[in-house]
Each structure stands twice: as structure tokens, then as C-alpha cells.
Symmetry: C2
Subunit: 141 residues, 2 copies
DNA sequence: GGGCTATAGTTGACTACGCAAACAACTCTA
DNA sequence: TAGAGTTGTTTGCGTAGTCAACTATAGCCC
């Protein structure tokens, strides 16, 4: 186990060492897990993750190779394909989630009070692509 | 002139097209301009910009080549060298600043009210490396 | 002094991601 | 229904920035 993260880089390093995921990969799984039918058009995923379409292609290449995401084509529009979270992907996300969200929270707690975190969450939640959801983590203290 | 930026990427592209600066290069000039004697140890600059030491080496390579920053060695500790903003660097920063800070502000204004921006500025100003300074831009409306 | 350990900085190899260009498929309009 | 424009995706190439390994200096303690 790594020492407590004090930067985004350390957060990323922990995620990588412990789960073999990059930050973007984690976010992709996270966003897909909360999407209808565990799937999203690649172009929508791009917007959510603030990546370009080519970035998404590359990112999903990796996730598809690992088996966490499947490429599903759309029947009504042959141009589009969906990124579909697999069972393995769901599981991977669950493994990675609690530690990671906990680390993020404690990173915030190093700098902000509970009230301030709430205010920030509220404000930043207004940003496009933000998910307006409370996500509790059962194993967190 | 580019259309109004709606993402950080577009902000970066504008900065690059209009002034030949990357986001990090701009930030480096910005931070140096507010430092004592317009200089900072490379390692301090790294912390401020949330870059690694090697990242700073690469970044300053470019800025030194352009003549915006000079490498100055420390007389009392031969390990350390300073990044020293030059006159050209000051000038470059001034040219780039107003347009850029204006763009950032309007990007925020797309999503937040004045009050919210103030709250965010206050909260985010607590983060390490943040400069707690009001920086007015004369040509801004 | 000679040997530790810590700190500052550089370099080589690698990676994530952007941009521009290409291509395919869809949707208009005439 | 041919053409034009739009949208979704991929690919080639370039670049910013990471990590790991290294060198050089500083400060410590015997």
C-alpha cells in the first residue's frame, strides 16, 4: 500500500499500481457504469471524459483488449458504435472504486472542510458532463 | 480570432495560435512574474505548476530557447539553478495575459454566476501553489 | 578527512493524447 | 437520385510530460 496521496499524480500511480488502470480508464468505466444499459456512444463518452474522439479510440482499444469494455455497433446507424461495459468491467470498477474514491476524498480533506467540500461538489456538479449523483462506498469509514 | 472557447483545449489552442505558448509555458511565465526578483528555483516552479522536475527541465528548455527565461545558477548552492524571467518574458506574458485571462473568465461565466465564481476562487485559492492575488486586466471590459 | 543520506537537476525511453486528414455512413436539397 | 454537407470513427504523426536511472552537490556523523 502506497503512502497517502497528496497529488493527482500519486492518485494516478496508486490506481495504476493496484489496479492497472489509468485515470481516464477508471473514469471511462465509472461513466459507463452509470449510463443506461451500461453503454454509451463513443462520441458521448468523449464528451463526458473531455477527450477527443481519437483519444477515445485509443483509450477503448486498451479497455477492449483487457475485456472491460465491448464494442457494440448500432443497428440504426452504422456509423456509431457503443462502448458497452462488460461484467469484467463492472467487477474491475468495483475493485478499484472504493480505494480510489476514498483517496480522492482524503486528498480533498487535506485542503478543505466538510462544508467546503459540499460547496465545491455543488458548484462543480454544474459543469457539463458532471454526474449529479451521491455515490456512497460501503467499505469507507 | 477564434470563436469563444468552451473547453480548456480551445483555450490552449488560442494561446498557442495567438502567442505560441502552451498552457504550462504561460503558467510558468505567470508564476515567475509574481515571484520575488522574477525568479524561482526550478524545484519550486515544479511544485507551483504541479509538474515533475523533468517536466520543468523540458518546459524551461523551450522557454530558454525563446529567450523568455534565463537559467541562473545559485552562488551558495551549486546544485540549484533559478529560472529567471527576462524582459522578453515579461513582455510576452503581458501580451498573452489579457486575452487569456479574459477567455478563462468567460469560460467560467458560461457555467457560473458572479457569486459562484467568487466562491470558487476563494475555495480553490486555498490549494497549494495558488496565488492569492487579484489580478486586474486593464483592457478587460 | 571518509562515508552516509538527502536534495537539485538532467537524460533516455515511453505513454497519453491532441490535431489533421481520411473515410464511411447519414441527411438534406434540388 | 446525385451531390453537398454533417457526423462518427480511425489512423499517422507530433508533443508534453512521466518514470527510472543517473550525476553532482550539500550536509551530516564517526
Amino acid at each position: 500500500m502506497r503512502a497517502q496521496a497528496t497529488t493527482k499524480r500519486e492518485l494516478a500511480a496508486a490506481l495504476h499500481d493496484e489496479h492497472g488502470l489509468t485515470m481516464s480508464a477508471y473514469e471511462a468505466l465509472y461513466v459507463l457504469a452509470r449510463a443506461d444499459g451500461l453503454r454509451l456512444k463513443r462520441v458521448e463518452l468523449a464528451e463526458r471524459l473531455v477527450l477527443t474522439p481519437s483519444g477515445i479510440t485509443r483509450l477503448l482499444e486498451g479497455l477492449e483488449a483487457e475485456g472491460y469494455v465491448e464494442k457494440v455497433s448500432c443497428e440504426t446507424d452504422l456509423r456509431v458504435s457503443y462502448a458497452q461495459l462488460t461484467d469484467a468491467g463492472v467487477e474491475k470498477l468495483e475493485q478499484a472504486s472504493c480505494g480510489h474514491t476514498g483517496s480522492i476524498r482524503s486528498l480533498f480533506e487535506q485542503h478543505f472542510s466538510e462544508d467546503e467540500i459540499e460547496t465545491l461538489a455543488e458548484l462543480l456538479g454544474k459543469l457539463p458532463g458532471a454526474l449529479d449523483e451521491d455515490q456512497a462506498c460501503p467499505t469507507d469509514g
